[in-house]
Amino acid sequence: MRQTYANVTHKMKRKSVCAVETAAQMIFTVCAFFAVIAVASITLYMIASGVPALWKVGVREILFSTVWRPTAEEPSFGILYIILTSIVGTASAILLGVPIALLTAVFLAEVAPRRLAAVVKPAVELLAGIPSVIYGLLGIMILNPLMYKWEQAIFRGSETHQFTGGANLLSAVIVLAIMILPTVINISESSLRALPPQLKASSLALGASHVQTIFRVLIPAAKPGIVTAIVLGVGRAIGEAMAISLVSGSSVNLPLPFSSVRFLTTAIVSEMGYASGTHRQVLFTIGLVLFAFIMIVNVLLSAVLKKGESGHE
């Protein structure tokens, strides 16, 4: 009698344990698919809100026209200069930032005495944590006045140049170059550290100096990792909005260093607040263009990673 009672409770307990186990597994599965659902709905909504303007205004009028006059009597919604600004700005930021970042990564992985690395490494981590609005604030307070001085010196007496007060493409490029440093440094450093030690040893044994080894052997060997770092840097730079929205000026122009420009991101930030009707829809089209760029970057990234993996095998 007593034994059967114990048996029954044991079975009941087993059953409830089973139920909890199944429930747990189901909940975790749902959690895991959350990311898939999120990406799917973001893609869907970006397309659904970006495409109507393309129909209404016309693909050619939006993507290949250079006149951006969204609030004029006869409005014009050409975003070609905005797209070009994002491309030129990002490329210049990469050209400026990546060499500094790569050399810093080399310093951390190869050159630095432990004590110096213990200063530089945390500094880089902190740079990554600084909010983008603060970079923007410093850009306004420090870079823009400096750029204005240069502008006045370079364009003195020019009648065609529109003075910008220093809020120009060059300021934005410098801010972006600084903001991508931590990303590129960290990933390049870890790819340099992941190299097999024999590589360095053989190069040194063949009589190459340490510096020659770094530039002729280690950096080429770490190329997949460095390319990954650069692609991530591109993603960061092209998507940055708040840091450059006040630094880069407020009118749409061909991306020249001392011109006031609008990026894809800054156009959205500064106009979404008051835009309505077609203007607002076109801003969503700008968002869709930005989203397309980011998706290209993502696909590139996973291609690079895959290639890196197969290369190691």
């Binding site: 959690c31 709905s41 909504y45 970006m46 050399l103 310093f107 909010p131 603060i134 510096v211 708040m242």
Partner: protein, 283 residues
């Protein structure tokens, strides 16, 4: 001789680049604190900006930031940890793993302004939450999810397999093992992820500008505390942006000091946490 010169030059460049990062950080911290520390006062931190009372303060924005952190973490932490548990402990070699990991990567790469647009349309307009702290928190949830998932995954991976086989061998069911053995061992890594997420929430602005809005008032006593999540609320970073676009640089630098203080604190905490786990795994 030629080679020596070239080596020396390149080495010099390497040192220069490294010095640049350090000087840059020192310059930023020095400049912000020098300009902003004078703006910090008790009334700046504890009052709300009001033309009537003649006060300038960020108390409302501090409260909004706290609301935003709490709400976002409340949603994102369980989902992120759950997702990591499934990927690491249940999925095995399921072909879904690659899709989920790819989408998590993708989420991490989407710029915050895109999150802002999506949040404004989906949570704000389609779900009718309007400009509110809740809309902002939902939006930020999507943004910080990858951070929490990846940190939890790494922490779970670092737990030795012997713990798993040991527990299963003694007859523990899987969730029981995860709850009592794996999660406690992975806790420092998970907490690190959550703290990093707090850092992102505090510093975020582009995703919040069109979702959480720019309200700066304190919640009304009583039910106002609950109602606040449906009202517009600008965080510190948003107020910093608004202040600088109105050229109120003293307020902007004051907020910048507060934000940098939080960033430093977060950096220090994660450093302590990861330092401890490093020491633990070595010992």
């Amino acid at each position: 001789m030629n080679r020596k010169w070239k080596d020396g030059l390149l080495l010099g460049l390497i040192y220069l680049a490294a010095a640049f990062s350090v000087l840059l950080l020192a310059g930023i911290l020095g400049y912000v604190f020098a300009r902003g520390i004078s703006a910090i006062s008790l009334s700046f931190l504890t009052t709300v900006t009001s033309a009537l009372k003649g006060t300038t303060g960020i108390a409302g924005n501090i409260v909004n930031t706290l609301y935003m952190i709490a709400l976002t973490l409340l949603i994102a932490t369980p989902v992120g940890i759950g997702s990591a548990i499934w990927l690491n402990e249940y999925a095995g070699k399921s072909r879904w793993v690659r899709l989920i990991e790819f989408t998590t990567e993708t989420l991490a790469g989407i710029p915050s302004i895109i999150y802002g647009l999506f949040g404004m349309v989906f949570f704000g307009t389609v779900l009718h939450f309007g400009y509110s702290i809740l809309t902002g928190a939902f939006t930020l949830t999507l943004m910080i999810l990858p951070l929490i998932t990846r940190n939890t995954q790494e922490a779970l991976r670092a737990v030795p397999d012997a713990y798993r086989t040991g527990a299963i061998g003694m007859g523990a069911a899987r969730w029981y093992m995860i709850r009592t053995i794996l999660l406690p061992s992975a806790m420092p890594g998970i907490v690190t992820g959550v703290i990093l997420a707090v850092g992102r929430i505090v510093g975020e602005s582009a995703a919040l500008l069109f979702t959480a809005g720019s309200g700066y008032l304190l919640p009304k006593p009583g039910t106002g505390f609950l109602h606040k999540i449906l009202e517009s609320g600008g965080t510190l970073a948003i107020q910093l942006y608004l202040s600088m676009s109105k050229a109120q640089y003293d307020v902007a630098f004051g907020i910048a000091v507060v934000l940098l203080g939080i960033v430093l604190l977060i950096n220090l905490t994660t450093r302590l946490l990861t330092g401890r786990t490093d020491a633990a795994s070595r010992g």
